[in-house]
Symmetry: D2
Subunit: 371 residues, 4 copies
Amino acid sequence: MTEIGIGIIGGGYMGKAHAVAMSSVGAVFDTLLRPRLEMVCATTADRADQYRRAYGFARGTGDWRALVADPAVEAIIIAAPQELHCEIALAAFALGKPVLCEKPLGASLEDSHRMVEAAETSGAANMVAFNYIRTPASQFARKLIAGGEIGDLTWFRGEHTEDFYADPDAPATWRTQGMSNGTMGDLAPHMINAALALVGPIDEVMGAVETVHKTRPGTGGAQEVTNDDHAQIMCRFENGVMGHMYFSRIATGRKMGYAYEIMGTKGAIRFDQEDQNALWLYRAAGPEATRGFTRILTGPAHPDYLPFCQGPGHGTGYQDQIIIEARDFLTAIETGQPVWPCFRDGMHVNQIVAAAIASSAERRWRSVSSV
Amino acid sequence: MTEIGIGIIGGGYMGKAHAVAMSSVGAVFDTLLRPRLEMVCATTADRADQYRRAYGFARGTGDWRALVADPAVEAIIIAAPQELHCEIALAAFALGKPVLCEKPLGASLEDSHRMVEAAETSGAANMVAFNYIRTPASQFARKLIAGGEIGDLTWFRGEHTEDFYADPDAPATWRTQGMSNGTMGDLAPHMINAALALVGPIDEVMGAVETVHKTRPGTGGAQEVTNDDHAQIMCRFENGVMGHMYFSRIATGRKMGYAYEIMGTKGAIRFDQEDQNALWLYRAAGPEATRGFTRILTGPAHPDYLPFCQGPGHGTGYQDQIIIEARDFLTAIETGQPVWPCFRDGMHVNQIVAAAIASSAERRWRSVSSV
Amino acid sequence: MTEIGIGIIGGGYMGKAHAVAMSSVGAVFDTLLRPRLEMVCATTADRADQYRRAYGFARGTGDWRALVADPAVEAIIIAAPQELHCEIALAAFALGKPVLCEKPLGASLEDSHRMVEAAETSGAANMVAFNYIRTPASQFARKLIAGGEIGDLTWFRGEHTEDFYADPDAPATWRTQGMSNGTMGDLAPHMINAALALVGPIDEVMGAVETVHKTRPGTGGAQEVTNDDHAQIMCRFENGVMGHMYFSRIATGRKMGYAYEIMGTKGAIRFDQEDQNALWLYRAAGPEATRGFTRILTGPAHPDYLPFCQGPGHGTGYQDQIIIEARDFLTAIETGQPVWPCFRDGMHVNQIVAAAIASSAERRWRSVSSV
Amino acid sequence: MTEIGIGIIGGGYMGKAHAVAMSSVGAVFDTLLRPRLEMVCATTADRADQYRRAYGFARGTGDWRALVADPAVEAIIIAAPQELHCEIALAAFALGKPVLCEKPLGASLEDSHRMVEAAETSGAANMVAFNYIRTPASQFARKLIAGGEIGDLTWFRGEHTEDFYADPDAPATWRTQGMSNGTMGDLAPHMINAALALVGPIDEVMGAVETVHKTRPGTGGAQEVTNDDHAQIMCRFENGVMGHMYFSRIATGRKMGYAYEIMGTKGAIRFDQEDQNALWLYRAAGPEATRGFTRILTGPAHPDYLPFCQGPGHGTGYQDQIIIEARDFLTAIETGQPVWPCFRDGMHVNQIVAAAIASSAERRWRSVSSV
Ligand SMILES: NC(=O)C1=CN([C@@H]2O[C@H](COP(=O)(O)OP(=O)(O)OC[C@H]3O[C@@H](n4cnc5c(N)ncnc54)[C@H](O)[C@@H]3O)[C@@H](O)[C@H]2O)C=CC1
Ligand SMILES: NC(=O)C1=CN([C@@H]2O[C@H](COP(=O)(O)OP(=O)(O)OC[C@H]3O[C@@H](n4cnc5c(N)ncnc54)[C@H](O)[C@@H]3O)[C@@H](O)[C@H]2O)C=CC1
Ligand SMILES: NC(=O)C1=CN([C@@H]2O[C@H](COP(=O)(O)OP(=O)(O)OC[C@H]3O[C@@H](n4cnc5c(N)ncnc54)[C@H](O)[C@@H]3O)[C@@H](O)[C@H]2O)C=CC1
Ligand SMILES: NC(=O)C1=CN([C@@H]2O[C@H](COP(=O)(O)OP(=O)(O)OC[C@H]3O[C@@H](n4cnc5c(N)ncnc54)[C@H](O)[C@@H]3O)[C@@H](O)[C@H]2O)C=CC1
């Protein structure tokens, strides 16, 4: 058991989640590396100090470069806005420090390419924070598919839908500016990553990306919205499977609509994050009269559940995904082995985002490798 | 109360459903016109006679022209394969007889155009049998949307998915031959009709139509499948709403996956025919803490429910949709007023099918009016 | 194929349901006996005439004795209030005519005993209209249990809950007067019948029967309610299984809460009439990781589904249960064989009702045979 | 912010859960008191040392008295078997140390009485670990009821059902010995506590407590089972509401069946821990046509959700309940104010357990105050 000093840049939504995860991951998973909350960074030293006290870090700073450079900071978590991801990651890799970067990898595909190169040159552990795919249910879905339980896949449908911008009168903010903060930039990556994990690489896409509410109330009148409210893509996977994905921040009624259904020649799987402790499995076997979708409640028989609770059906939650992620990041550092999804995986996601946006603009299918 | 002589062509799946419906529609809805099961037609006189006895018709015939021409047959229901729809309808309209035609209207868009022309020339009642949209739940969904209950629409997703051909070893039959028997030809029309009813006319489509299992076991070895197993279309409605539809006969686990979700600025609606007596409604109103999708059970407060049962939540079934349809057909005949969906409406559906297939082949968006 | 003249006493909620059922049962099930709607009876000749025209009967009458005595009436359905069941049934059996009697069999246990005796003396077909147990799903549940699919039973929980009297300000009517119109008298019999069918005979009960809203607005001020709003019973089945049932007319939110769950050593079954086309089955078999409740949609593989529809998941509704019941009644007449549930079965239900009410008053367990 | 030294007795299922909770509660809730994992105790020093390393405690011990007496241990969590609860608690209170005790409070009602007395004499913080009632959903249910949202209550039904002993061949262990380890002793307390919290005090009960599988395979042949497999109680609350509860460890298919439904004159609530992030609310208001149960997903608008996640519908899990509990325990210590449920509340639960067992043996209603 060795201590490792953790530095987190950002102390907001995800910065806190990572801080909490790093506080408990050792006790949950009995990890070899034991995180020490060394330093937290925010836009100002004051804000950082508040985070420090609240989350229990040793130190706070208003300067992310100081955090990255600090010798006691041995691993870095980037939980700051997407525009900062690239610069921070490059600085960290320059010092050979491991990085766990929040999604999306880079704010642009170019950023992502640079980040992959830096990560691979440095040889340091690198990982992208696609937490949803780490629930026991979704891990189990991957296992079932990989094990051939539902046969050859024939169809994939995924969505990541929320409704935080469903109200046309919700005000303009930084969220309504810049493609990396729009639906394709910000929400789509989670589900695209799931699609790649569950089905395999994507060859080509046909996108339709749209800003439904073109202006929103801003300070001093209506302000133009410069990114997308929702988007859909039809896609073709390398293995021939056809698919569809839908992403939205205006999906009235949907709170955490990270959902997918996958059909195969021998079965089917359905999942909805709004009921994250259940996986629905259909198997085309046995007498017709007893076939149907089975609601499997996650439990100790499923991946990464037992460390959280010995009882089946007792359930894990959002924060637990981040703890599983923390364990994987620590394992990557400890073993020196790449852990999925690494930066290259995150870049592939950005590539699909870019191809879909291009396809939408050109109103034609685009191969992913063409962007 | 006046009797009306009904002739049904076909006594299979739908022929029987219409016969049963015509037997009970009077008692259920207290209709002015009271159907008399006059004549049924099948491929052979023998088969027709079996249907006659089973369903309680006065007479049977192996010749549909005889049925159409028979003076005691005052209204005609076409429940024969799609290839026959056009010819039969034309014969009936030539005699000025009302026609209720099973979906899809014509086996091809050309057929449909001819059928519309004949119908409109004759002035006789004409109606297409899109029964699913007639459930109390879906009728209520239409009403809610029309009444502005969910605000301005922003997104439509529909599907019609079944799994009767999910098994790759299911044998080739007439169902695997001819576009009008494939998924786009045979299943898609129901949901396209729903989309038009719920959201409005469709301007353009981007289709992806596919035969997943290219051959199937036939008599004397593998036989080529000449129509599609599943298909998806992205679409743009005239009112600007973006949408997506998916159709499949290989959707493992799905039995009657006629399902849709519709989002608007003030609410959302979800429906799945596999739970046909429930409509899910979300309203973006009231305190955040008590918002959520409400599972509304159909009851006497919903369209066309009460005649079937005085108790809410007691539920209607498949056959009841056909009875509602029968009532509407009788009303059309009685009042001389067109009833939705008439042949022209059915032709619009075929148009979208044709546009989607063309779009898929050309891999580009197609405007519906261009086919 | 032989015609049989049907007489129905009552043309309200259930009278209509039976009339519709008798109109279509022949076409649905291709029965040997073909019902002819001969006569309908209501409180007045006028009302009867309205029913006659609406439902398509040949004749109407305001005098049920005339109906019973009429030679063209060959089988009788009692769809009048419970207080009339006994007298009508006795008159019918005196003439040797078959009777289908709405639930509960008699308005009192004494009535039920007399009715059983008359039925058995006459030798005529006799049946009680417990329609809910005839859905394809519940029939299949019986089959699964009988086939040992869920092992030895260990627990039964049933309920029949509705909310038509949930509002304390709902006015007093005949429904709030007389034990046979209260929850135990009127609603409980359906679920008690289900318990007997699914698990077996009941030995003893411990009841708690209660009038929650002691008065209700009546004409001229508050009126006393003389029957029960809700009731629960703990019970012990002959085979040793322990159970519980709950009945309510004030179960806010419940519309058709006819629901049960049955556990066994090898599996479990759950059913809720509010989703009547689904049966949930759990089997304690196979790997732990894929166990769960399976939502089985009814289809042609389940009892009495196929005659209504060739497609699985398309669903049956309330009216279809009455059609299945009509088929069984016709079969009983035709074959001369008793059909379950006959009057004796209905009397057993009344016995349990009586035992539960007595138990509640005495606040102690009562054996069913002691009443 | 002050550190507080935590000592946990037991490092198994719940000992770990409390250790993890104490690791992260500070970061999650920004508590004033910040736990320091001071000491853990197990049956042997070796086992304790393993727990120490795994969960990150400073020290371990095989002697719980040493832990209780240790000056650096400032607050004690009892996560050892029920038989030990009393003795440990008494020792802790003798030193004036705060105690969080796992459920059930005492292994017997006598134990519980002694524990309450000791707690109240000492004046130290005391709390019982009924974690399930602390989910955001169940906290919100309490709030809705207290706020009159569903009107005057009319009915309560609760259950705590699991299936870990559903297999009759599951071997005998300490779990099958002693009433405090049976279903009434071990599982019932959670739901009884919920009933008290949601509805109010219970006046009298009528129980039926049963051992279904009388023997189980043990070392050297069949071994007698000396406690109960399942149990039901009918109950009457002080406010007049009638209720029912069912508890089972043989409820095939149920994993975490902590579920309740509560009806009132204006609405109803349904909850099932197997879908712990949803609360179902029905309100008898607005047009009949849009009424139904609403599935409310927990989110920042609900009690104690926001500290775990800023996004609604993202969900909390089992471990998070223990973190909320830890926060409440820390608050009790910090403020010196009693926190619900304190030891006296836990004793009331044991009282109901005892009354139900006595009632079952005597086959008659028992008032709770009579035990
Ligand atoms: N995996 C997931 O489920 C989620 C991921 N995210 C991702 O996490 C990242 C952070 O998002 P949120 O936590 O939601 O944002 P937030 O606005 O809640 O927090 C951002 C934090 O970054 C800090 N920050 C901003 N500029 C900085 C600078 N120049 N130097 C130092 N610190 C700076 C702020 O002080 C703040 O603490 C984003 O990349 C976002 O896409 C966000 C939400 C959910
Ligand atoms: N609305 C709905 O839910 C459904 C609609 N359909 C539609 O109903 C129509 C009939 O389909 P099914 O009933 O499933 O087919 P089916 O194969 O069960 O029955 C077809 C009937 O047509 C008769 N027929 C065939 N050729 C004939 C000829 N030349 N002359 C006279 N009769 C002839 C056959 O004897 C048979 O009775 C089709 O257009 C189909 O697309 C089918 C199933 C469901
Ligand atoms: N199986 C089921 O699901 C249901 C069964 N029932 C049962 O059906 C029976 C009838 O109930 P509803 O149809 O709901 O009542 P309703 O009030 O709707 O109809 C009662 C009918 O009986 C007729 N009637 C009353 N007194 C008569 C008399 N002296 N002579 C001739 N006709 C008379 C009335 O004219 C009326 O048509 C009852 O026994 C009830 O318990 C009722 C509802 C559902
Ligand atoms: N709130 C909840 O959801 C749950 C509560 N519980 C309760 O938690 C308590 C502990 O149960 P589990 O954690 O399931 O048991 P467990 O068997 O997993 O752990 C018991 C622990 O107590 C320790 N222990 C036993 N005897 C001891 C002694 N004489 N001295 C020191 N340590 C000793 C053992 O070493 C072990 O670490 C029980 O009271 C149980 O009822 C258990 C499971 C769930």
